[in-house]
Amino acid sequence: MIDVGFLAVTALLIVPVGAALLLVLLSGYRLGARLNVGAALASLLAAVTLFGARPEANLYLRVDDFNIYLIVLNNLVSFTTSVFSASYIAHELETGRLTPAYLRFYHAMYQALIFAMNLAFLANNIGLLWVAIELATLITVLMVGLYRTRAALEAAWKYFILGSLGIALALFGTILVYLAAQPVMGEGLPAMAWDRLLDHAKAFDPALLNLAFVFLLLGYGTKAGLVPLHAWLPDAHAEGPTPISAILSGLLLNVALYAVLRFKMLMSANPSALAPGPLMVGLGLLSLLFAGLMLYRRGDIKRLFAYSSIEHMGIITFAFGMGGPLANFAGLLHMTMHSLTKAAIFFAVGHISQVKGTQRISTIRGLTVTHPALGWGLVAGVIAIAGMPPFGVFMSEFLVASSTFARQPLLALPLVLGLLLAFGTLLWRLHGMAFGKPDSGPAAPVQASTLPMLAHLALVLIAGFWLPGPLVAWFHHVAILLG
């Protein structure tokens, strides 16, 4: 008998690697873009198969209720982004910002990045998780520097230094977790397998676990863009190719947060260890408020939405820090909604900066008149990300706020303040870009594919009205698992 689940997991890892190798060899960029889309679709299909057939967990890989939905989300967004990327890069090639040789590299790296993220989600071994995130970091550093401009190189360098520091701290934390586990579980591989660690976490030395968690939170928190450690994020988003901004915001931040949550579950399993909640609530609130304030003075459209990503990572971290079934549910929902909406916004922004030839907000005016499809897409995306009904983000933000009011009214005040700040700024910025008087400059036509953007926005809109019953049950179940 064939184990379908095992095959699906293998496909999730082998397909991107195989595609990456093939893409290095292929020279035509059209063929490369098609192969990229095809491989991403194959990974998505493999991910969906996991719902039906789940493989047995082993010491390296594991599929459980928590990561399965993130794997599907990850492959869904990488698929739609690859469709967007195909039309985006065609324009970049025309304008000469990228050459075919760079595109070959870009496509291969794109698949390698999908591999790294899938590996991070599938990993059962905390060492393997670390390796996957390290790999994803190095790949994105190369991608951010792709344009080879002064600003792009600086952004990549900053990201490289800060990202590596975060990764180094996370490794120290990982070693400490192993040290805490080793006296209880003995030497060797089982003491690094996450599910076994969870079973034995009660007996671990709480002091070591506490120290480990601080390092892990700081380390992976850097990768998730939490505030004192966020400095790389806006630059990396603004200077890299836009499809990579979409992947960074929509997916890679989730990967880092997922790692934090896995370790949070370990901490919660040990009654005498430090409660991880307050730390996460603090970092989350700080990120939210800081990003809310920073949004005001942004002059660059991609930077604006990069700060908005910091804000939303803050909200999600806050929600998981509060804990409890309702807040966790809201956190999971918000993670999904943010990925979909932010990716859609970056799809729009990518084409907008191409048609306008600039990323400066002050020179982007009257989009709904000059480019109706892109303009209204951006309007819908920003309204959604600012948390207005009827979109799904409103629902998840509402859940976060209401569960906080019910339990810690004092914490709800800064939360709501941060949400309102970001809300106001985003709409104010949007107004000029979408409805201002268009300048007389040449409005270059662009062959934009709006399909990926519309698909994402439709999903977010539907989620605002109606969540399918099985999905709600699923999120409830995972929310309880998260504790």
Partner: protein
Amino acid sequence: MHGLAFDIAHFLAGGMVVASFLLLYQDRLSALINVFALHSLVLVLAVGWQAHIQNAHHLYVTAGIALIFKAIIIPTALHRIVRRLGIHRTLEVVSGVGRDMLAGTGLVALAILVMLPVTAKADALAREDLAFALAVVLLGLLLMVIRHNAVSLVIGFMSLENGLVLAAAGARGMPLAVEISIAFSVLIALIVIGVFLFRIRERFDSVDMQAMDTFREGRRR
């Protein structure tokens, strides 16, 4: 615990901390690279000794990787890069050596104060190694903070990674996957860095990171 075996392990791990201090006040790039090679060499000895007393053969591999990459290939490559950039004789302004040393001493004290109480139940060897490893990590961070030169930053980061390898070696029976990946990451990192240094040089005519800091959103207008 065998008294002498423990003392030697202790001595070698302490040697890494001393080498980290040496890194702090080198003002010439080629000297900095040489001290980094020394730092890695002490790491190789420390990991090799751990392999011997723990009877863990995979640690010999780790030590070998560290010897080849970190003590030989990377310093040689960095020397070449620095020479090709023509900055091997440049003196880097290292102001306030005394202040940096004091800060470093404080960080070592912090590392010991944090690690020793926390690991009270772990075996003595892992404890000492971990405290020293944390000290090396923190000193690497300090080096990255006080220097502006790209090459110095890279060396700070790699000395920090040496500290991590020491920690991993001290943890009894830690699986090999991690160590290999560290070596691997350093290798990739070097490629990235090599490319970067040349590109940065191309665009900025300098590898002084302060020159790069002028790029901020506000000031670009």
